[in-house]
Every structure is written in structure tokens, then in C-alpha cells.
Subunit: 214 residues, 2 copies
Amino acid sequence: MTEFKKTDKTTITRLPKRGTYDQDTIYSILDEALYCTLSWSDEGQSFQIPTGFCRIGNKLYIHGSVGSHYMRLLAGKKLPVCIGVTLIDGLVLARSAFHHSVNYRSVVLFSRPELVSEPDEAYAALEVFTNKVCPGRWDDVRKPTDNEWKATMVLSFLIEEVSAKVRSGPPKDDEEDYSMDVWAGVQPLSLVRGALIADPALKPGVAVPAYLKS
Amino acid sequence: MTEFKKTDKTTITRLPKRGTYDQDTIYSILDEALYCTLSWSDEGQSFQIPTGFCRIGNKLYIHGSVGSHYMRLLAGKKLPVCIGVTLIDGLVLARSAFHHSVNYRSVVLFSRPELVSEPDEAYAALEVFTNKVCPGRWDDVRKPTDNEWKATMVLSFLIEEVSAKVRSGPPKDDEEDYSMDVWAGVQPLSLVRGALIADPALKPGVAVPAYLKS
């Protein structure tokens, strides 16, 4: 088991038994999440934005428009950022209001942006990101043109100062409450992919590809 | 239509047509989301945490343990915060990699914490929060004891400096790409509540309540 090293910023003080620094756990949460929340600080004020991302090895990648204010700010100043990912797995319904909780898996990463200038690395980031969101999609679609690449900025963040927090399982009530006539348990929550909605402008005769049917 | 006033921090510059300041839209996103991401700045470093919340009128409420480091920090220093909420509605599958997108509804709020010291206001925040996550739950469960109230801190945030961003509908491709033999459209995503899992320690004979069956 590979563990990330705790730092002042990543040492979990509140409910520390839920904390983990295990690399496999952290990578699996990052690889499942469809977006992250990226926050930074500017003159004492925090800002945040939700954005898609992917992981390759020990780096997290985001991309955006070269015209994006925050991408330029991050890349230009290499500002320290905080990146968070949260997966909600269920509502934990206890007998007491006080012990209600949520089953979740979350990651918090502290890092700094690096502008990805190597074309192969940028290409890989976009390919992995596209296939993460929709496995098999990259091979099927028109690849970026030179002008589209010029309009795209890719940033990487080293995954090093990072922690995860996980809660799972049934509620934990006070001993005397277990005899109450209140239903208790977990209501699972999951992000479900629904039936495909074809673009009204879809070219007639174009079938749904196999990778989208499963 | 009531609109929030734009400020320097909430004026949307990137894809401004997706931006909205409409109160009903912003409140509906806040009322649907099960958690928010709260970020703050400490000596130039941004921190963030996911947390449950609810809205009552023009205030957003969170609660936590009085032993929580960040709750104490926020309440003590009344730090400026950024609070974000994101609902992912679907993957937008375009014919080109470049035009892939996501249908989403997001809110970003800038505010400062106020410690809720009025018992009625704190009670209402917990009741509304519990019923938001699980409608009908509050009446069914054991209410907080005096000691539990003493262990709980409730913070409010005025909803005033706020904006939303919404994308919906099919992909928008470059004109010349519409003739490609690539399937395009939207794959809807939704957070679905699964079959209830009873606590293994559930008292025999306690049935699932009606409000949990729908």
C-alpha cells in the first residue's frame, strides 16, 4: 500500500478515522469523479470553479480556453490551488437528527498549476479526459485542429499533497436510541446515465455506437 | 423576475450567455443540491470543504461541530468565503472532441459567515436541512438534546453577491461537421435514490415510513 505523506494542510483533525492517504483509494475517487472544484485565492478572497479533469499517473489535468480569465490567472501566477472532488454514495438516516450523515468519498488536493507545453502530453490529457467521461469516444470523434489546439490551454497539477475522506455503512446512533420505533438505514445515491437523446440535427442513418449502448 | 445585482466578482466574462442572476433560478439550484463546496483563503492559500446546507429565504445555512477547525475559523474571523454548487445534468457528445461539453446548473456565491445564536433560527435551519435531504424525516426522528445543540454550530451566509451558470440542450458543432458519420447528442445524468438498506441493528417490526417509499 502506497501512502501519500501527511502535511500540515492535509492532516485530518475532524473525524480522523475517516481520513486516508492511500494512493489507490485517492486515485479511484479521482478517476470516478466527472468534475472537480478548483479554488484559489486572490487578495484574501477565495474563488472557485467546477471543471472537468482527468488523472494520468501522479498528475491531474484540466483544460480550458486560452481566453479564460481564471486559466490565464492560474497559469500566469502559478497560484497555489485547492482541488476538491466529492462522490455522494448515500444518505445515512439515523434515529436521531443529530446522527444523520452522508456516505461519501472525497479528495482534497493542494497543488500548483503547470502549463502543459509539450503537445504529446496535452494530447494525452484530452484523450484520457474524453474517454474518462465517455469510454471509447475519442477514437470516434473529429480530433482537434491546429486552431482548436491554439485555443486550448492545458494545466497539470502534481498529486502529492493530498488526502481523502470516506464514510460508509449504516448509521451510528446513541445506545439508548436503538430501541426507538424509527426506521434507520441508508438510502443509496448514485449518478445514473439515462437514455440517450439524439441531436435533432443528427445526420440520418447514423446509429448509436456500441460503446454508448452499455 | 427578481435579479441579483452584478458585482465585479460575479460578472461572468466567459460564455456570458450561460450566466444568469435570476433569483428563482439560483434558489432552485440551491434547493436541489445536496451539498455545496465552501472555500476560504488563509494567508494566500485556498482551502475547501464539501458540506450539506439549506436555504431559508435569502440566507444559506451550514452546520457542524463546535470542535470543527474550519467552522471555528470561519465564525471567529468572519472570513470572506466562496460557496459553489454544481448539478450535472448530462454529457454533451459533439461530433468534434473540441465541442464536447456538459449540461449543468451551477451557482457561485460570495459571502461572509454569521454565527446563528438565535435558537429558533438554528432550529429552523436544522429542520429545513433535514427535510431537504429527506422530506418528512424531521417529524419522525429524535430531536436534538440540549447537549447536542451545545455541540452544534450553525452559520448563515447572506445570499446577495451570487450568480448562476446554466447549459442545456444539444451539442453545437462547427457547420462542416454536421455531415460527419458520428453519433451526437446528450447522455442525461441524474442523481438517483436507490433501494433502502435497513440498518442491521434496526429494531424488529419497524416498517419503512410512507415518506421514504415514494
